[in-house]
Symmetry: D2
C-alpha cells in the first residue's frame, strides 16, 4: 500500500498514520518526496488490506494498493529514476557508467596496469574479483583480502571507484571497507541471507547481477530483499541467461533493459562479457547497450588476456578497450541527449 | 573445398579443374571474384578430400578445406558481404533496411493505409501476411491470393517493395509473382522441401527467419539449403528465441548479429516485434539493432492495433512508427558511417 | 461448445440443432457417444457464443463452452481415451506399443534385418525414414520412394506395421500408400499446410512428434489441425525438448505424459532415442516410459550402429534391443494391469 | 591423477608416494580400497602432470590421469556406488529411499501429523523446512531454530531421520545438531562458501539439489566442493530445470539419472514435486523414478494442502501419499531386484 499524505499534513497526522499502518501488520517505509510525504507500507500479502481504513484517515490524500509482488523497487512506489551516487560518480542519472577491470585481481602490477587503462579511457569504475565463485574447487579462488587491498590501492592511485564481489554474510563488512560498490554475483542472486545482510548492515551501493535462469520478476524481488532491509542503492545488471544456443556462452537478454525501465526505478547496466564469453562480440554489444537505454556497461580487460587466470577469452586488451571506448563515444552522446530529455520530462 | 585459380588461368584449365572436382564427387559452384576465379566445391563430408589433388592441378593457386558444416554461406568462401538487391533497394550494403507493415493483410483500406505510413516514414519494404501460420486452426489463416493482390497494389501505389510469407512448396511460384521478397517464417526454418524449392525455382530474394529454438549454426545450414539449390539472395532474420523468461513473448538474441557477422557474408536483420510481443519495447530495440550492426529491422504497424486480426499487442500505431523512425535517424547515421568504413576497408 | 442431446432425441431435433449451430458460424463435428449424441461445435473464438440459444433448443440436454483453445482433442469433449487401431494392433488401448527400426532405410538387407529383429523381440511397428529432414543439405536425404518400397516389403515379410515420415503436402498420398502410420516429424509440427492435408486427405493414423520448442498446448493445437480437418487417429510423441543442458542432445520432458493424460484423450508415446542422443540411456528411459503411463515407445535399432548413415550414436544393436525388451517385460506387465483398471473404471 | 599401489605395498612406500605427490603441488586424498591402496591426487589443472614420475615410483602399480574436471566424485576414481548411511537407513544401496514431509514446518501439530503419515507409509526420512529460501522478502521465511526443534521431536517420536535445509555458513553447525541430512537447496548449489563449510565442518550426509539452470557437470563440481573439503556423504537430487515449457513449473530432467549413474558413484534421487508444481503429476513420476534407476524420491505432504504456508499446490494429502506409496510398491520391488543384480555384478 502506498499512502500519500496531503500537502501540509502535520507531523502528528503522519505519526498517527504510521502507527496505524504498523498496527495493521505492515512495516512502514517512509519515502520523503519533494513536496509531499509518501509512505510505503509493505509486508502484508493481501494487497487490498487496510486501503479503506487509510483512505479515511486524517491528513491522507490517497491510499493505493501495490499490485506488483515487489514493492519498494516498483515504479508504482516511485516514478523518478533512482540515481545511485558513488562518491562523485553516479549510476542511473545523467552519466553513462563504465565498469571495467580484470575478472580476478592477480598481482599488484596487473591490477595497477588495469586501473591506469580504465582511467585513461575515461571510465570511473574499476572492477576486479578478490573472492571468486568458480565452478570447480580446483580453480583459482581469488586473493581474498590481499586482493581487496591491491584493488583499493590501484583504484586510489588512478582516481577510480572500486567494485568487487562479496560472496558470504561473514565478509560483507570486510568487503565494504575496501569497496565503493558491493557486487552480488549471478550465483548469489537468490542467496537471501546475503541479500538481507547487505540490506541491513551497509549503505554501500550494490551491483546485483541477474542469475543464469533468474526471471526479471525474481531479480526485482531479490533487489526488494536489499531495499526492504534498508539499503536503497541498488544497481541491476543483466549478464546473459542460459538458453539452448551454444555459439555464445550465454544469451544477452537485451529485452530486459526496456522491460526493467518500465517496472522499476532502479538503474540497469549490461555486462556483454559474461553474456557472450567472446571478446570480439563485446564492442558492438556495448553500443547496443547505450542505444537501448541501459545506464552503463561492465566489461573485462587484462594486460595479457591469453594469460589471465580466469575469463581470458572474454577479456579485452587495453588497446581493444580504448578503441571500444572511442567507438562508443557518439552513442553515449546520443544516450546523454535522450537522458536529458527524460529527466526534463 | 575452395579452389582459387591463378591470375590468368585459362578457360581450359578452369574447365578441367571443374570436371576433376565433379569426378571426385563434389558439386561445383563457380564463384567469379573480381580478379580471379574461385570455385566452391561442396557436397562431400570429408573436408580434406581432394585437397592434395587440386593443389597439384594446373592453373590452381590454392585449395583449402571448408571446415564449417555450412559452406557457400560461410565467410571462408566469400569475405565480402552479400548485398541483396531488391529492385532499387538493397539489404546488406550501405542502406539500413526497414521492413514494416501489418501482421496480416486484412482489408484494402487497412493495407493501403499501412503502405502510405511506411512510405511516409521513409521505409522501403512493406510486409504483410496473406498466408498466416497460426498455432490454432480456428484463428484467422490469411486472405491468401486475394491478400497478395491487395498487398501488391498497396505497395505499387506507395512505391514500396513487398515482403510476404510463403508456407508451402505448391505456392512458391504464386507468391513469387506478387512478392519482391519471399519470407520463410520461423516455423518453416527447417521445412527442407520448401527451402529446396525456393532455392531451385526462383531468384527472388528470401527473408529467412530463425526458428524459436534454431541454433545459429542450424540457421546457416538452412540458408545453405537455399543457396546450394541456386538462390544466393538470402537475408537472415533473428526474431527472438524461446527461453524460460516470460516477461516477454520471446528473448531477442542480439548476440546473434555480431556472431553471424563473423560466420557469414549474408545480411542479418532483427525483428523486435516478434522477439518481445510488446509494442513499448520496440523503439529502444530498433536503436539497439542499428547500434549492434544489423542490416535492418522488421516491425509491425496497424491503423488500429487494438482491432488487429493478429499480433495487435506488438503492432505500433502509425504515429508511434513515425516517432520511432525519427528517433532512429541519428543511430542510422552512425550506422551508415560505420558501414562506409567497413566497405572502404 | 459441446452440445449433449437428450436420451431419445429425435433425428429431426438433432438435424435442427446442427443447422442452428452452423447458422451461428460454427462447424459441426458430430461425435456419437455410446448412449447419447454429443455434438462438438468449433471454429468460433468467443467461447460463450451460442450457449444460451442451444440450452433452450428442443432435445438438448446441456450446452457447455470448451474453454481450452484446442477443442476436439480435449478431454472436455471426450472423456474416454482414444484407441488408434493400426490393422490388428492398437495404440492407446490395452497394448503397450513398441515402434522400432533404423533412423533411415539404407539397403534391402539392412531394413529386412531390422524388421526381423523387431518382430523377434515382440514389437509390432517398424519405423524407418525414406524422406529424411537433415539439418545440412549435404547429409543423406533418404532413399525416397525406393525406401518406402523396401520398408513395406520388410514389414510385410515380418508381419509388422510401417511407420514413416511424410515431409511435404505433395507426398502425403504417396507415403500413405506404403505406410500404416504417417509420421509428422518434430520440425514439421507447425507445418500447418501439411497438417491440414493429412487431416483432410487420409484416414491413416498419424504419429505427431512434438517439436524441439513446442509447448504442450501448441502440440495439442497442432493435433487439433489434423483432427478438425477430418482425421481423428492421432498419436502424440514426446521426443525431447531443447534446454541449456548439453550432457544429452535434448531433454526428455517426461512431465508431458501425465500432463497430456489430463488434457487430451489422444495416446502419447515417448522417444528416448532422440531425447538423449545416447544409446546407453535408452533402456532405463523406456522403463520409465512404461512406469509413467505412456502408451508406448519409439527406439532406433541398426545392425551395425557405428556404420549407420544417420543417428548411429543413439541406435541400439539388435542384441541391445532384445535385452531392452526383456528388461521391459515386467514393467509392461505392471503397465497393463494399471491400464486394465483404468479402462474398467 | 589416480595412483594405485601394488598389492603388498609397504607403509613406507605409501608415505613416500604421498609426500612426492604433495611436493608436485597436489593434495592427497587417500582412498582405501578393499584390497589395495588407491590414492587420488587432486588440485592441479594439468591432467598429465606427474603421471610419469609416479609410474616409476616404488610400490606403484599404475598412475592414470583423471580426465573429468570433477575428480573425487567421478567413476574414474571409484567404481562402486557410494552408499550413504543415515543411522540405520541408507541411500544409494539396496533400499529405495523415500523423503517426505511438508515444505515448511508450520506448527507442532502439523509436523507431528506429517511425521506419523510418513512413518505409516513406510518411508524413513522426514523432510521439512525451518529456514526457507523464498523469492519474496514478504513471504514466510521459516520458523528457524524453533522449527528445527519441532522437526527433530516429530521425527524422533515417529522413528524417522530428519532432512532439512541449511542456507548459510553461520548456521551449518546449528542445523547439523538437529538434522540427520543437511539439504543444500537449488538456489545454493553454487554457494561455494556454504559448500566448503559443509565439506569441512561436518560429516553429516548432504542432500545437494541441482539448481534451476545447473548443468549436470556443474552439479558434480559442486558435489566435488563438498567431497574435496572432507565430507564424502553426498546425495544428489534432480528437482526440475527451467525451460520454455510453462504447463509445469519446471521440467523434470529424468535423463539426468542414467547420465549421472555413468559419471559418478554418488546416489541420485528425484524430486517430482518441485519439478512439476502439481500434485496430480507426482504419483506417475515417482513410479518413473524407480523404473529409471533413481536411488529414491522426495515428495511434499501436508495435512491440508490448501492451507499450506508454502508449496500447497504440489503437496499431497496424507491419503494421496499413502496411495502413492502403495502404487509404488511393485516398482520398488522391481527396482530392488535390479539393484541386487547390480551389486552382485
Amino acid at each position: 500500500m502506498i499512502v500519500s499524505m496531503k500537502l501540509g499534513a502535520t507531523k502528528e497526522q503522519i505519526e498517527r498514520v504510521c502507527n496505524r499502518i504498523e498496527d495493521m501488520g505492515f512495516q512502514v517505509r517512509s519515502i520523503q518526496g519533494d513536496e509531499r510525504i509518501v509512505i510505503a507500507a509493505v509486508g502484508v500479502e493481501d494487497v487490498t488490506h487496510g486501503i479503506e481504513t487509510m483512505r479515511s484517515a486524517e491528513g491522507v490524500e490517497s491510499a493505493v494498493p501495490i499490485s506488483a509482488p515487489y514493492k519498494l523497487v516498483s515504479k508504482q512506489v516511485r516514478q523518478e529514476r533512482t540515481v545511485v551516487a558513488v562518491g562523485d560518480a553516479t549510476v542511473g542519472g545523467s552519466e553513462f557508467a563504465v565498469f571495467a577491470g580484470p575478472c580476478s585481481v592477480e598481482t599488484e602490477q596487473q591490477i595497477n596496469a588495469c586501473a591506469e587503462a580504465v582511467a585513461a579511457a575515461g571510465a570511473k569504475f574499476l572492477r576486479g574479483g578478490a573472492y571468486k565463485p568458480r565452478s570447480s574447487p580446483y580453480s583459482f579462488q581469488g586473493l581474498e583480502e590481499a586482493g581487496l587491498k591491491l584493488l583499493r590501492n590501484a583504484a586510489d592511485s588512478a582516481g577510480l571507484k572500486v567494485v568487487t564481489e562479496v560472496m558470504t554474510v561473514a565478509n560483507v563488512n570486510l568487503v565494504a571497507e575496501y569497496a565503493d560498490v558491493l557486487q552480488v554475483g549471478a550465483r548469489n542472486v537468490q542467496n537471501f541471507p546475503l541479500l538481507k545482510e547487505i540490506g541491513a548492515s551497509t549503505n554501500r551501493p550494490v551491483l546485483l547481477k541477474r542469475g543464469l535462469s533468474t526471471t526479471i520478476k525474481e531479480l526485482l524481488l531479490s533487489a526488494e530483499y536489499i531495499v526492504s532491509h534498508g539499503n536503497a542503492n541498488v544497481i541491476l545488471c543483466e549478464r546473459g541467461i542460459r538458453t539452448f544456443e551454444n555459439a555464445t556462452r550465454n544469451t544477452l537478454d537485451i529485452n530486459a533493459v526496456p522491460v526493467l525501465n518500465e517496472m522499476t526505478h532502479l538503474p540497469v547496466i549490461l555486462d556483454p562479457a559474461h553474456a557472450t564469453g567472446k571478446r570480439d562480440l563485446i564492442p558492438p554489444l556495448t553500443r547496443a547497450a547505450a542505444a537501448v537505454g541501459a545506464d552503463g556497461i561492465m566489461v573485462e580487460i587484462h594486460p595479457d588476456p591469453q594469460r589471465a587466470w580466469s575469463d581470458g577469452a572474454q577479456s579485452l586488451t587495453f588497446a581493444q578497450f580504448a578503441a571500444m571506448m572511442r567507438d562508443l563515444e557518439p552513442y553515449v552522446a546520443l544516450w546523454a541527449a535522450g537522458r536529458a530529455k527524460l529527466i526534463a520530462a
